[in-house]
């Protein structure tokens, strides 16, 4: 589903290039649950952003579902990730001016899905995550865990084929973190959604089927989880 070949990303500052990622090549198949691990500054978030088409690599090719992303124009790229990719952030990144229900609905609006269909999907999500009673609250009225749930609900509402999660449990207490990871596992096993997560936690990594270890912008190890 995803093929990365020789991905490189650097920032130029007065002629000196500082490399964030170098020679990154890997393949990820549909239905996998991959964790990207590594120390701070290793380039994990950048890799995830590139996967999510939020950043462009300065070199290399990225093939997503058979399409060469690097050669696509912005409009087509937006189309692709709108329809296939759901992003979950560490800091939840909900829109403070919108209610829970509106936040979940937002990506559907951009996909130009009709009103009735939107309403039904949002209702589904609210049900599934047991947050129906909170649908008219604003993000600042929810706890961290609840906000993250909403973030995930938002990512799922668009029915993506792949979820990219950037340290989804980083800001949560252990009990809530567990809940989130169980959810991910369920999504991966029961619905076949590909999940790529960036994480620090060994515990979280155990939930996946594969771990990519990054160090100084290079993939050092690519192991399967027992």
């Amino acid at each position: 589903m995803i093929t990365l070949e020789n991905i490189e990303k650097y920032y130029a500052n007065k002629g000196i290039k500082s490399y964030i990622l170098r020679h990154v090549s890997t393949t990820i198949k549909q239905g996998e649950f991959v964790s990207i691990m590594g120390p701070s500054g290793a380039g994990k978030s950048t890799l995830l952003n590139i996967l999510g088409m939020l950043e462009e690599p300065t070199y290399g090719t990225y093939e997503f579902m058979g399409e060469n992303i690097t050669s696509l124009n912005e409009r087509k790229r937006i189309e692709l990730y709108r329809n296939h990719i759901g992003f979950v952030f560490q800091a939840y990144h909900l829109i403070d001016e919108m209610t829970v229900a509106e936040n979940i609905e937002a990506p559907l609006l951009y996909k130009k899905i009709g009103g009735a269909e939107r309403k039904s999907r949002v209702a589904d999500m609210l049900d599934r995550f047991n947050i129906v009673g909170k649908k008219d609250l604003f993000p600042n009225q929810l706890s961290g865990g609840q906000q993250q749930l909403v973030g995930i609900a938002r990512a799922l509402a668009a029915q993506p084929s792949i979820i990219l999660a950037d340290e989804p449990t980083g800001n949560l207490q252990s009990a809530q973190a567990l809940q989130i990871m169980e959810l991910f596992k369920k999504l991966n096993e029961e619905e076949g959604i590909t999940i790529i997560q960036v994480t620090h936690s060994e515990v979280n990594a155990e939930y996946g089927s594969r771990i990519l270890h990054l160090l100084d912008g290079v993939i050092k190890e690519d192991v399967a989880v027992a």
Binding site: L54, I78, R82, F87, F89, H93, D96, L109, Y110
Partner: protein
């Protein structure tokens, strides 16, 4: 999508109450000013255009030549013989009517008598101008020689009802007339308003000189209605020489000019129209657009400044699939909503301030709410403002890189965006500064004209109209007034001291040249005590004196008249005036007769009995004004009971003459103030925001040891710098504009450098006050709070 964005826009407005208020407030003020000034422009531009046949209505104009054959003056006062000559002798002219200037005439019936604004007119007047008749027949209303036509309000004022057809009235206490028609009130923006219309034949009956064919007397207005296909140039060419054919000594030509252009383009040089009131209308339109522009600039600046707050939202939206276009649309929508709210507020503001505005400009604008064209214009303004104001922020915001936006690492100090914002502030303040400099200059010019000595003592000087029984009882009036002690001097004259309305040419004196034959002299006819009453300064000789019988053939010359005539020994010289040899009795100092914005011209005062329109009196300084005017009222009423008494103070009359300039001064004052206010609102918003952004920096600096003064200076300096640049740019522009305006005046003040110093300092002080009380508050804040922020 639209609903959600609408909801978010409203929620945003509510959450940021202060900045929303500043934004909406500034925009509403800008829009209100713009709308008011546009209403005024519409009013002036629509003058005389509401008549059905407006495009084909023309007025007869006169070009007066000087000795070299150049056109010296152009004016609209024509001869009584012109209209009939035009109608009969020239093809293309369908209707021609003479009329007079507006003049208050006595209209009385059994239970009330009023002085109404009256015009005499030929019957064709009603064919040229179409009015809405409430009663009466437009075809016949002025044809009957004893008819009178009233407007609705005139009828109500006089009779209490409009159902007055065929009622009888006594006109000017001399003629018995019958009401033949009542018409709906005229709109305010017409050049020929009136309350009553009386047939020309009545005018001729009451004043025999009006009926005599006279090609030298320019006292009347000639109005024409032309055929659709008439060729104006050909007609004007044919008109050349018409006056000369009838009066060989004439040095003038007649031409016709469209009435729709007369109101705005009435300044003529060399026979060609170079403009007129249109200049003022243009200034107002520029002012309107300028203020709106400042308000929009405010909006743009504040919106982009607050971009950081929206950065997160924009970043997220981009990650969940928003295209740049959808974001641009969202922000444009927000600005349109803001603009719509502002427009609603500004409509209310305009409605409330319209009476004041009308009073200020002495006009009567009414908002036509039912006119769809007005709503279209409003919609256009809404869309234009919303787009203009919202476009820059919309494109600026939607260009954010999502990842940087989310990580709060957006670099706002990037060179381009900040410079544009600074540039906008500079433009705003430049405009406001120009307005303020203009205000100061206009006031200075106004004061200069007001302070100019009139040549006579106008305080405590009053006048009444010389009419009715006062003609035969003049001497009685004079002795009774003096005996009562209400006044200390009385005189009668052919015209008011405040209104120049008489000139004479063709005076003859010893030693005059050919060219001297064409000099125009201002002329007043009077009898005795003119100098004593008016306080004009005598330079040589004396006033007309009863003791000297020969003074009845006397004449007095002004200083400039003596110079123009080149007389070495003026007193005693002989002047031939309209066939009578007159002796110069005295020389008086130049006086300003009517128009204070023009230089004095050569003037003569001629002794003549029987030509008098005004009685001028000097009030007794020992008595109170109310006492004296009451006495005058009483005495005049006793002698002339049929006419209401109207005591006019010359001071007031003179003041009214400067109305145009005074209005301009007031307007530039008000709108200049508004412009500065809006600009300061913007500055306030920007500085508030900038300080919020730099909270951490301020905290850190304080901890490192900066004093409050140093911090205040640091924070304010950026903004003060902008204002100083604006001052430097605006000053030369203001100077040039004001020089140009002042050069349009004959009598003008000088441009002093202190005007600019004053303006600059004033603007600087205001800007500093706006910015520093915020920066001071920020500098005083507890640094710990600031650092905890992170």
């Amino acid at each position: 999508m639209f609903k959600l964005n609408f909801k978010i826009a409203l929620r945003n407005l509510w959450r940021n109450k202060t900045s929303s208020l500043i934004n909406i407030g500034g925009l509403a003020i800008g829009l209100s000013s713009c709308l008011l000034l546009m209403l005024y422009a519409g009013y002036e531009l629509g003058y005389d255009k509401k008549y059905k046949n407006a495009d084909h209505i023309y007025q007869g104009m006169v070009n007066v030549y000087d000795e070299t054959g150049h056109i010296a003056r152009t004016h609209g006062f024509t001869q009584n013989a012109l209209a009939p000559a035009l109608k009969d002798g020239f093809g293309g002219i369908l209707y021609a009517a003479r009329t007079t200037d507006l003049y208050k005439r006595l209209v009385a019936h059994k239970t009330s008598s009023l002085k109404l604004d009256n015009r005499y007119a030929d019957p064709d007047f009603l064919k040229i101008f179409d009015y809405q008749f409430i009663s009466g027949n437009p075809e016949k209303a002025l044809s009957d020689p004893n008819s009178i036509l009233l407007t609705e309000s005139a009828a109500k004022r006089l009779f209490g009802t409009t159902d007055v057809l065929n009622r009888a009235v006594k006109f000017e206490n001399q003629a018995d007339l019958k009401v033949t028609a009542v018409i709906k009130d005229l709109p305010a923006n017409v050049s020929y308003p009136f309350e009553t219309l009386v047939p020309w034949t009545v005018y001729e009956r009451l004043n025999t000189w009006v009926g005599k064919v006279n090609w030298g007397n320019h006292d009347f207005l000639t109005l024409l209605s032309l055929d659709k296909n008439a060729n104006i140039e050909a007609l004007n060419a044919k008109l050349k020489g018409i006056v000369k054919r009838n009066m060989p000594t004439a040095k003038e030509d007649i031409f016709i000019y469209p009435l729709t252009k007369l109101h705005l383009y009435s300044d003529f040089v060399n026979g060609k129209s170079i403009g007129g009131k249109i200049q003022q209308v243009r200034i107002f339109v520029a002012l309107a657009l300028g203020i709106l522009f400042i308000a929009c600039v405010n909006f743009m600046n504040l919106a982009t400044a607050h971009a950081q707050k929206r950065a997160k939202e924009i970043g997220i939206k981009k990650t969940i699939g928003a295209t740049k276009t959808s974001l641009v649309i969202q922000f444009l929508l927000e600005s349109l909503i803001l603009t719509a709210i502002s427009i609603l507020i500004s409509i209310a503001v305009v409605e409330v301030s319209l009476p004041w505005f009308n009073h200020l400009l002495d006009i009567n604008i009414v908002i036509a709410y039912f006119n769809p064209a007005n709503w279209l214009v409003l919609l256009a303004v809404l869309l234009l403002t919303g787009f203009v104001a919202g476009s820059y922020p919309a494109f600026y915001l939607s260009n954010f890189n999502p990842i940087q936006a989310l990580k709060k690492s957006l670099n706002f100090k990037s060179g381009y965006s900040l410079n544009l914002r600074q540039l906008l502030v500079i433009v705003q303040f430049s405009f406001a500064i120009i307005l303020i400099a203009a205000t100061v200059t206009i006031y200075k010019q106004l004061q200069f004209i007001k302070d100019r000595p009139l040549g006579y003592n106008s305080s405590a000087l009053v006048e009444i109209t010389h009419e009715g029984m006062l003609y035969e009882k003049y001497e009685q009036l004079k002795s009774r007034l003096l005996a009562d002690g209400a006044v200390i001097a009385v005189t009668q004259s052919s015209g008011s001291l405040t209104n120049r309305d008489g000139t004479i040419r063709d005076l003859k004196w010893d030693g005059m040249s050919e060219a001297d034959k064409l000099i125009d002299f201002d002329q007043i006819y009077t009898t005795y005590d003119f100098i004593k009453t008016t306080g004009i300064k005598l330079l040589a000789g004396r006033d007309f004196d009863k003791q000297f019988a020969s003074d009845t053939a006397g004449i007095m010359l002004s200083k400039k008249a003596v110079e123009a005539m080149g007389l070495k020994d003026p007193v005693g010289a002989k002047i031939l005036n309209q066939g009578v040899v007159r002796t110069v009795v005295g020389v008086f100092n130049d006086m300003v007769w009517g128009d204070r914005t023009k230089f004095e011209v050569p003037m003569v005062i001629t002794y003549t009995e029987g030509i008098s329109e005004d009685i001028t009196m000097r009030l007794n300084p020992q008595k109170s004004i109310t006492e004296s005017t009451a006495s005058i009222d009483r005495i005049v009423r006793e002698l002339n009971p049929d006419f209401p008494v109207d005591i006019r103070f010359l001071d007031k009359l003179n003041e009214v003459k400067l109305k145009n300039e005074a209005t301009l001064a007031k307007l530039s004052n008000v709108f200049g103030g508004l412009a500065i206010f809006i600009s300061c609102l913007g500055l306030f918003g920007l500085s508030a925001f900038s300080i919020e952004q730099r909270t951490k920096e301020i905290g850190v600096r304080k901890v490192l040891g900066a004093s409050i003064g140093e911090l205040t200076k640091l924070l304010s300096l950026n903004f003060i710098k902008l204002v100083m640049i604006a001052i430097v740019i605006a000053m030369p522009i203001a100077y040039l504009l004001m020089e140009k305006w002042l050069n349009g005046f004959e009598v003008r003040t000088s441009m002093s450098w202190w005007i600019f110093i004053l303006t600059g300092c004033f603007t600087l002080v205001i800007a500093m006050v706006t910015v520093s009380w915020q920066t001071y508050a920020a500098a005083k804040a507890n640094p710990v709070k600031a650092l905890k922020h992170e």
